[in-house]
Symmetry: C2
Subunit: 332 residues, 2 copies
């Protein structure tokens, strides 16, 4: 069964928003983001509320750049890592836009973009927004240790980015089209180390990339960039190995990963790189979007990966299921 | 802006699955469900794993009644109440079906049905499954108190159902069509009592029902049933009042609520009734589906409501945002 959904009339991204925190604003992509906030509380009293505000800012920025009123947005697709997705629900409760909550862990940006694109391409929605966020402090608190504990992180651990991104998608009018999308299957190869998410997610990325290439009868050379979301340095190497070993495909010449792009690895001491829904979301909705608009890139296969664990599943000795959703972005 | 999505070629529900626990199997709808399990551990070692298995059983039952192979399912939409939606991700990780994770709290059945219907109606998916689950014990543990604590519940508290439901949706072939859908807007009227979810969700139900009636230029009398999901006894009364007060619409003659239907209120001592994603999911995918197939009901507006809180948001003094998604089911 063909898994790639190719749109007859590909919808387009007409505006984007990207907002990040202090550390992300000190990385190589600092100048690309719409807003860099030194104060990662975003003026709020808790990390969860800070994340809600962060996501809201990215969506508001996208709407502002779109140049129309929020009341003209047909539907909003959003999700995040927080329990019960409160980053999204509290961030967007005042927007008064029909709201579809989604959960895909760090794959959420591709998941929301792909779903929003289906809604717009089919004519069901005129204007859809896809968004997600993550926050270093709310994630550490929820998934790992209280920040005050000052725990040492393992070399394979990634740093959750304080970042959010949003895309406004319409039938036409943008310089970047969503040519086709693919929804991932859950892959679980038995990884149980919650500090090595890259390894848990790499098989899912490999499965999605292989199926995308296979369904579309293309090879890595047909793309300017195959961009994974948040595998980081460890997971990216594993992905290249898996692609070679399991599928005899070499993606290394066109592959990059948002988790590798966000920080200066050594100077910023981020171990295996960046992660979190907001990592890929902020990069795709700034740097990547702009490079395609400016025709420096033309075909970008964006595959965001998510580790579908919870602290409870990890404590119960469960392995980490991974998933990867894909979106082919093309210049117009 | 018209919020109702009316399908030119309405997709149909071709099979359903419903699986419930012991208490639900002792209620008025006992004979309607595909499976009643006395053992609510479902043979698993934790409540979270029990819920995963419960959801999996409902999906497998739906696929079994559909009569085809799981490999022919294009896409699966599912979500649940557990942190990071692990009920769905762990339940479905072995199915090898492209997976879209969704979060809508107790509105999830309408959310997944509506989204799956858009995918099928637009031709993007040939066969889609919509599913969700909830489990009394995993919910109590996560949202309220450890079961062992034996805490007394307030009169406005609802009982989370141990239940799951799944629908197989295809372009044609079923006896029940998804005529149109509406995605809800988040409503927050400032309710902060997490033991009174019905009150938090009623405004969202009212907004969605009003907009559905208004967009389609219909009145309550045009429906055989307006079925809300999980407002329970307290929330249902509030909904009727709100509809009258805010919109001057009397729905009382055609309204019922899944939370009121699941249990014998007095004998089973369930306070304000049933709740949880699985409550509406199991009832719609058994009793309601069958009544429409058998032409006892023809037009059912199913509006599932969700309270988008988390234990953390409640502890931080936040109010409870509600949402309600709607699906118009019609006999063919």
């Amino acid at each position: 069964m063909n898994r790639v959904i190719k749109f007859k009339n590909p919808p387009t991204i007409v505006a984007t928003g990207s907002v990040v925190g202090k550390e992300e604003g000190e990385g190589p992509l600092a100048d690309e983001f719409d807003e860099v906030h030194e104060d990662v509380t975003f003026g709020e009293e808790s990390w969860e509320k800070a994340e809600s505000t962060l996501q809201k800012l990215a969506i508001e920025k996208a709407i502002e750049k779109w140049g129309r009123s929020k009341d003209e947005v047909s539907i909003l697709f959003a999700g995040d890592l927080l329990n019960q997705c409160t980053g999204s629900t509290f961030g967007n409760r005042d927007l008064s836009i029909p709201f579809v909550g989604m959960y895909g862990a760090c794959s959420t940006m591709a998941l929301t973009m792909a779903t929003a694109s289906v809604f717009v391409a089919s004519g069901v929605a005129k204007t859809a927004i896809a968004a997600t966020s993550s926050h270093f402090c709310s994630s550490e608190k929820q998934f790992r240790f209280p920040l005050e504990y000052g725990g040492q992180r393992t070399p394979t651990a990634q740093r959750t980015c304080t970042a959010a991104g949003a895309s406004v998608i319409e039938k036409s009018g943008g310089k970047v089209s969503v040519d086709s999308v693919i929804f991932g299957k859950i892959q679980d190869l038995g990884i149980t180390d919650a500090n090595n998410m890259g390894a848990a997610m790499a098989p899912a990325a490999a499965d999605t990339i292989f199926n995308f290439l296979s369904d579309t009868k293309t090879s890595p050379e047909d793309y300017d960039l195959i961009l994974t979301g948040d595998l980081g340095f460890v997971g990216s190497e594993l992905l290249s190995e898996l692609m070679k070993k399991d599928y005899n495909i070499d993606i290394s010449s066109v592959h990059n990963d948002c988790g590798k792009m966000m920080f200066y690895r050594e100077e910023q001491d981020v171990h295996a790189g960046g992660s979190g829904c907001g990592c890929a979301a902020s990069i795709v909705n700034s740097y990547i979007y702009r490079r395609i608009c400016e025709k420096e890139l033309n075909k970008v296969l964006f595959v965001a990966t998510g580790a579908l664990l919870s602290p409870t599943s990890t404590m119960q000795g469960e392995s980490i299921p991974g998933i990867a959703h894909g979106v082919l972005l093309k210049g117009i």
